[in-house]
């Protein structure tokens, strides 16, 4: 099952079984944003506390497959406490990790965060999700939380 073990790395299963930053924040002051994968019904809800240009807190809700939920959990860890600008860099780097196949499948998905891929971002644990690119239909699962975060950041237009 080598292919599978590539997809379902231990760290992914760990985030799936014990998702980090689960919960809600009161809205307002927090901003709530929802992402939905109509194909499979995966759902991600993010609560973002953004102040002074930084994501001071983030919590997540929703349900879905192991890949979408693990990716959500890992994403929340990666951006919590980071500046919005830094977070957008991480998003770009993560989407670059996934992008070949995603743009191939869905037509280029150029959002406002599209831009040069930063080479100074360390993705760390997130790189475990790289195995997903071998399973093209699952890429949408991995990117759902990230696209939802982009939407949330855009809606709060960089934070106030």
């Amino acid at each position: 099952m080598s292919g599978l073990e590539d997809l379902y790395r231990e760290i992914i299963l760990d985030h799936y079984r014990a998702p980090r930053n689960r919960g809600t924040l009161s809205v307002p002051p927090a901003h709530q944003v929802e992402g939905f994968n109509p194909l499979c019904g995966d759902e991600v809800v993010l609560y973002l506390d953004i102040s002074d240009g930084a994501i001071t807190d983030i919590t997540t809700a929703g349900q879905g497959c192991s890949i979408s939920q693990a990716s959500t959990s890992m994403m929340s860890n990666a951006v919590k406490g980071k500046s919005v600008e830094e977070s957008r860099k991480i998003i770009r780097a993560f989407k670059a990790l996934m992008s070949v196949h995603e743009s191939h499948l869905q037509g280029a998905e150029n959002g406002p965060t599209e831009g040069p891929v930063p080479d100074d971002v360390r993705l760390g644990d997130l790189e475990a999700l790289q195995g997903v690119v071998k399973f093209p239909v699952r890429i949408k699962c991995a990117t759902l939380a990230w696209n939802t975060l982009i939407q949330g950041l855009d809606e709060t237009s960089g934070g106030s």
């Binding site: 019904g41 995966d42 759902e43």
Partner: protein, 411 residues
């Protein structure tokens, strides 16, 4: 054991020799689309290689041969469903298009603002969205027959739901739950209320003996690709007098009797509804599929599937107990072979990904029945479904693959 010789049948399906990940393909998604036997492939190949020409147009030999093969297929399909005449069978791209045809022609001419259409909560999107589109356009009311905790239609308030309604549109067999609905009884209830009845028979025509005359319905839709035929063709069956009275659907060649600069007159049924060059070769392939199924006999098909379904339900319950929930009736008499299930803690997608590693093809998702999934309170299920080429070995492999998935995700 049933009278089917599955080993012999499997020989007729070239794709079943295929391996995935070094393992024999175990195809358990026939409720979505069935595989194709050599006789169907040969019929289509033969047309392209020996007789191919457009239909209903040329007087030359091969055009006549193709036309007669095409109309011969229509005749075979009409007999297969017990229709009194092949002119009652209109070819469409698929069942979905057939529902849209009824909505846009019969619906637009016979329904007015405030009229009601009754649907059920277990419908496929194909039998929901065309009516929602029409309802938005004509300001119609849509009413829904709910489902019971044991996954049957809840007919407690059927009479009041049907009261004053113009149409009851329902599936004869749910593609998610497997539930078999009582077509003659529902049609009779609709007629008693003065409504017409449309049957979405996509899942039942491949698996149960079908007779539109004894069903006594008004419209029935079905697709070739779920009954060993090719994709790209489906049909609407409707009573001749209804088809006669309905305006045409799409305009163009074939559907006309005469065209002048001032206007057109329509062709006879069924061609009145078949604008443009049809799926000639696919229709011919569908005819061969029907021949294949008739040789086996639908009673034997049903018996075989009932046995496999019972075997699978037992195996799943034995092996996984309460950890696995089955969404559908457990009584074989009331269900087809589609088994939708969920593990307590494993998402349907993850299940189907892990079992794919074992070359087992099952479907994960909402199965084009999102309203039903909402009623069930689940976002997605895994679905296995069986057809004539499956055997108990396939089910054993499925169960073993599910055990691996269970281990993998550590529930």
């Amino acid at each position: 054991m049933s009278s089917l010789s599955v080993a012999k049948i499997q020989e007729d399906f070239p794709i079943l020799k295929r391996e995935v990940n070094g393992k024999r393909l175990v195809y358990l998604d026939s409720a979505s689309s069935s595989q194709t036997p050599t006789s169907v492939l040969d019929a289509m190949n033969n047309c392209y290689q020996n007789t191919y020409a457009n239909v209903h147009r040329g007087v030359y030999t091969i055009a006549e041969e193709t036309t007669s093969a095409f109309e011969g297929a229509r005749l075979a399909i009409s007999r297969f469903i017990g229709a009194s005449s092949p002119s009652e069978v209109v070819f469409t791209r698929n069942a979905t298009e057939a529902v849209n045809l009824v909505a846009q022609t019969w619906g637009r001419t016979n329904l007015k603002p405030g009229d009601a259409i009754v649907l059920t909560q277990m419908e496929h999107h194909a039998n929901i969205v065309p009516w929602q589109m029409l309802a938005a356009e004509l300001d119609l009311e849509l009413r829904w027959i709910p489902i019971t905790p044991d996954y049957q239609l809840d007919l407690t308030n059927l009479e009041s739901l049907l009261s004053g309604a113009k149409l009851l549109a329902f599936s004869s067999m749910s593609n998610v739950l497997g539930t078999i609905n009582d077509v003659p009884a529902l049609v009779a209830a609709a007629h008693n209320a003065g409504a017409l009845a449309l049957v979405d028979a996509c899942q039942s025509v491949p698996n149960l003996p079908t007779n539109v005359v004894t069903d006594n319905s008004d419209f029935m839709v079905f697709s070739a690709h779920k009954m060993l035929g090719p994709s790209g063709v489906g049909a609407l069956w409707a009573r001749a007098e209804l088809l006669e009275a309905m305006p045409p659907f799409l305009g163009g060649g074939e559907m006309i009797r005469d065209v002048t600069l001032e206007g057109f007159t329509t062709n006879e049924i069924p061609w009145k509804f078949e604008a443009g060059t049809p799926a000639i070769v696919e229709v011919i392939g569908w005819g061969a599929a029907v021949d294949y199924l008739e040789k086996i006999g639908l009673a034997a098909v049903r018996e075989h599937e009932a046995e496999l379904t019972a075997y699978a339900l037992d195996a799943l319950a034995d092996r996984f107990g309460k950890k696995l929930t089955i969404y559908g009736p457990l009584d074989i008499a009331h269900r087809g072979s589609a088994i939708s299930f969920l593990f307590e803690d494993i998402h349907a997608h993850d299940i189907s990904q892990v079992v794919d590693e074992e070359a087992v093809c099952v479907r994960a998702g909402h199965h084009c029945a999102k309203p039903l999934m909402r009623v069930l309170g689940v976002p997605a299920t895994t679905r296995a479904s069986f057809y004539i080429y499956n055997d108990t070995r396939d089910i054993d492999i499925l169960v073993d693959a599910l055990v691996r998935a269970e281990k993998f995700f550590g529930v």
